[in-house]
Symmetry: C2
């Protein structure tokens, strides 16, 4: 039995426990997790029906026949040609699997376009979210998954050190040029697709937590937020350092950087089995609040990382999920001073039997390497 | 009034015509089209409520405050912090705009995660899709949009010629290496983000229409499907050529390539105002059917291209949408011989007053340049 079939069988036993008759997946990491078939979401109807009992069934465009056959252990494929009605196939599958009056858990990221079609074709069904059964399976990583996450962490670490070694040479480069250089370094060291749009936030741009990069040129003394990563073996890297390439930073920067560094350390130290996820958030946040920057830390402390770069467990107030060995998440507190600069420091950690393991370990200092 | 506000106002007048009380957008090209704010979908609740009358309202994470303020003309932002309940804000906005019993058109690509939350928070509302009002606005491109699409077409054309000039040097490169070279060429010529994962399908891999690239090395005489593009000024390029870098291709290849080239030409010639989109599909398909390869052309002839690389109008049997000036779509017939090779040729075209304009014009021959 492949790892994918094994995961599907475990999913099926949980469906019954959840009072659900089937999960209905579409191109997503849940679909890959269960079937081994990976594809981006698209406008063509492509579903995997995973009934609580029996074998799963694909409903897919004809043009995917060979790719699904190559990638997936799921043998039952119902194919439609462009110009045909895919929902007629969905209706037939629902009849065979006796799902018309059932409770269906749809992929959390399924487009409204498709959930509307499912509701119209199966008006007597009720709907929930696939995360009800998938999150609890996916949140604990197995050894192969941890090995991939460590490898992705190493690629991000190596690229981080290499780009910082530009030193004076980075002065005068635009953020976009520096992002291109980072992406080249990631690829050179074995990274595949980017985990997300590379962030190079220099000076005041660093104060926007979700800024990517632009035409601003790096100046001497600029604090620069560098947040990036790439996939290795299907799992993403994600690491942030806030650095100065050359020159003296603004006076308040040194203090803010030290506060964020201590907050990040406190968050990592709080991560161990049995504590709720929100305790990691609280530990990091308290350091920043005590330093007087509480209202400048405008986001949660972290997010789980696995096949999705943002997934459970979210490290946020209100998340009482108990940490368990194998859970992987970011610890990334930040302080943002609008119009001036931002500071964020981020490592991924994997919860172990008695604490946690950092998956990133490049230097956290802001000073030129 | 900005172009974005103007679009929103036109959307609002159509909402009333459609019997809808509001559109509810989330990070998508519809959101960018109406607000000027661009973001990738994410797990945080971020909505734009566009009522049929009055001013739109953002419900957004606090951390996006500055970015939305910089990017959008929409001034009303209701912000929530990580750890707070965003749906409480949604409920308050629904009360203010009197939407609780209304008909709401949700973004077609909104994740089920969010549509489920909307249904739970607003149990008396009914739901449709935002495409009901957005598609008809977006499908006719204005002059600025056409200029961006031409520029993206030129970047793809230039990269296509440049990569083909590798000639003998491409022999022995892996598909993945060649994809990297194409992506470098696109960036060098002014392309931004890739329109989609670059396709380099050599030999039998070209017979899988949605294959990307892998470790296979290009051999002499291999037919290679090259399908790629990059964004310029927010609009994507998308072009396909099937080429041989060096050596003699399989005997049947020359014949299949000529059939596909003629089919593509027939599709382009059929594109003019007043004909249904499906007529373009039929014109291309007839050429392939007459040549005896009908069952090897396993997909529609094309898709609309705009802010999304796949959007209306789809060039497919059953789509009776009448073509109008300003519509832009791909014409990309293909023939796929499993285990042997595939051939696809694709240009984007823009419908004009009396026919159509090709947005790509790099050589369509398979022969080395």
């Amino acid at each position: 039995m492949t790892v994918f079939e094994d995961r599907t069988r475990r999913c099926q036993s949980r469906l019954a426990d959840a009072g659900a008759d089937a999960a209905v997946l579409f191109p997503s990491t849940n679909l890959f997790y269960a079937s081994g078939f990976r594809e981006e979401p698209g406008e063509r109807h492509l579903f995997l029906f995973v009934p609580s009992d029996g074998d799963p069934v694909f409903v897919a465009p004809q043009m995917y026949d060979e790719q699904i056959g190559d990638a997936s252990w799921v043998a039952d494929r119902r194919l439609w040609d462009d110009g045909e009605d895919p929902m007629a196939l969905v209706g037939a599958v629902a009849d065979e699997l006796d799902l018309r009056g059932g409770r269906l858990l749809v992929d959390d990221r399924m487009w409204a376009l498709f959930t509307q079609d499912l509701r119209e074709t199966l008006p007597d069904a009720t709907f929930g979210l696939a995360s009800e059964v998938f999150d609890d399976l996916r949140v604990r990583k197995d050894e192969a998954e941890l090995a991939a996450l460590r490898a992705a962490g190493a690629v991000a670490d190596e690229a981080s050190v290499a780009v910082r070694e530009l030193g004076e040479d980075a002065i005068g480069m635009t953020e976009t040029e520096l992002a291109g250089e980072i992406e080249r370094l990631l690829a050179e060291r074995g990274g595949g697709d980017l985990s997300f749009g590379t962030v190079v936030g220099s000076g005041p741009n660093g104060a926007k937590p979700h800024y990517r990069h632009g035409d601003r040129e790096i100046e001497r003394g600029d604090p620069v937020v560098l947040d990036f990563g790439a996939y290795v073996d299907d799992y993403p890297g994600d690491q942030t350092r806030t650095v100065v390439f050359a020159g003296d930073p603004p006076e308040e920067f040194e203090r803010v950087h030290e506060v964020v560094r201590e907050a990040q350390q406190a968050g990592v130290e709080a991560a161990e089995p049995g504590v709720p996820a929100e305790a990691v958030d609280r530990a990091a946040r308290e350091v920043i609040e005590e330093a007087g920057y509480g209202d400048r830390f405008t986001h949660r402390t972290g997010h789980g990382v696995g096949l999705d770069v943002h997934e459970e467990p979210y490290v946020v107030a209100g998340n009482e999920t108990e940490l368990e060995p194998g859970m992987v998440f970011s610890v990334e507190p930040g302080v943002y001073l609008p119009g001036e600069f931002g500071v964020r420091i981020e490592d991924l950690v994997a919860v172990t039997e008695d604490g946690c393991e950092r998956l990133n370990d490049s230097p956290r200092t802001w000073k030129p390497l």
